[in-house]
Subunit: 158 residues, 2 copies
DNA sequence: CACGATAGACAACCTCATTGACCATATAGA
DNA sequence: TCTATATGGTCAATGAGGTTGTCTATCGTG
């Protein structure tokens, strides 16, 4: 039993969101200084969802939890920015495989490294044990595949 | 020192977001069953930002981190849904004070209670001590006023 | 070979934010 | 007191990003 009164329940979700944003904003800022200034927060997740092997717009939409059209538009944007390229699949003429370009891979590698650096900084600030407790707790309370990217829709949907 | 290898750095932000969504979705579902089915996730935060005393559109926009026009539109929507009402300020003819209606207050009270219930459930699942450690950690790592609601903009902005 | 399922593209629309311009009012300074 | 500036609110235009609906091309199976 703790002697202090429990904080109001609404603080926890706000802190969760704020912590998420803090990490993402920091990532965004650092990667902008490493040659990717036109990258947007969600793009990193899209790169992770595309993966090194490439995928298709439909499959990408499924992974991200959005429609295939929305995924297609995102791919189009990333193609214009030079992060992905589209090729045809010789085994299936319908599929157009989306692959990361060298620039896209560079970005993926850098973002993975920066995420690790950020985690290391948090570990230093909190202690590794404490940070693991947080991660374990979140894993228990919010299990499942965290790779759904439909947050914008979820946030604004009717 | 932990013997297990540290998880990849990108897991933590994803878990933070997923946990946030888990709480908000659950709140949304419960409050829909208590007579507020047309409420949207962000509205609860808007009510918190309006507060029992009322505020203005400009001030609301500042608190939420969005433009005054966006805040005004949100107020307009909530007014149509019957959650807020706009009155004039006798001391300043420019201001139009936004206040929660009875229905809005009901919603605010219920959402506060449900947030507390959800926190209690998490406390039971994790142990109060553990939950407090998470809250303390998040407070230290993501300090400041958590009441910025510009996530949609942040998520999609150029 | 025909039929259903799948991949992709195009169009129309919605929601929610933005910026810019404009008017009304309050406040401070000459 | 009168004027200049700041502030609150509204309207209009725009843009990003998502959705549904429809259409065509291709694959796989009975």
């Amino acid at each position: 039993m703790s002697s202090e009164p429990a904080p109001p329940g609404f603080e926890l979700p706000l802190r969760l969101l704020l912590a998420f944003r803090t990490i993402i904003d920091e990532l965004h800022e650092r990667i902008a200084h490493e040659g990717h200034p036109d990258l947007r927060p969600m793009h990193g997740f899209v790169f992770q969802a595309i993966g090194p092997q490439g995928t298709t717009a439909v499959e990408l939409g499924r992974r991200l939890g959005v429609s295939k059209q929305a995924a297609g538009k995102t791919v189009e944007n990333l193609e214009q920015l030079g992060y992905v390229e589209r090729g045809s699949d010789p085994a299936d003429a319908r599929r157009k495989v989306v692959r990361l370009t060298d620039r896209g891979v560079d970005c993926l590698v850098r973002s993975a490294r920066i995420f690790d650096e950020l985690r290391a900084e948090w570990s230093e600030a909190l202690g590794e044990e404490q940070l693991r407790r947080i991660e374990d707790g979140l894993r228990r309370l919010a299990p499942g595949d965290p790779f759904r990217l439909d947050t914008p829709r979820w946030f604004g949907a009717p």
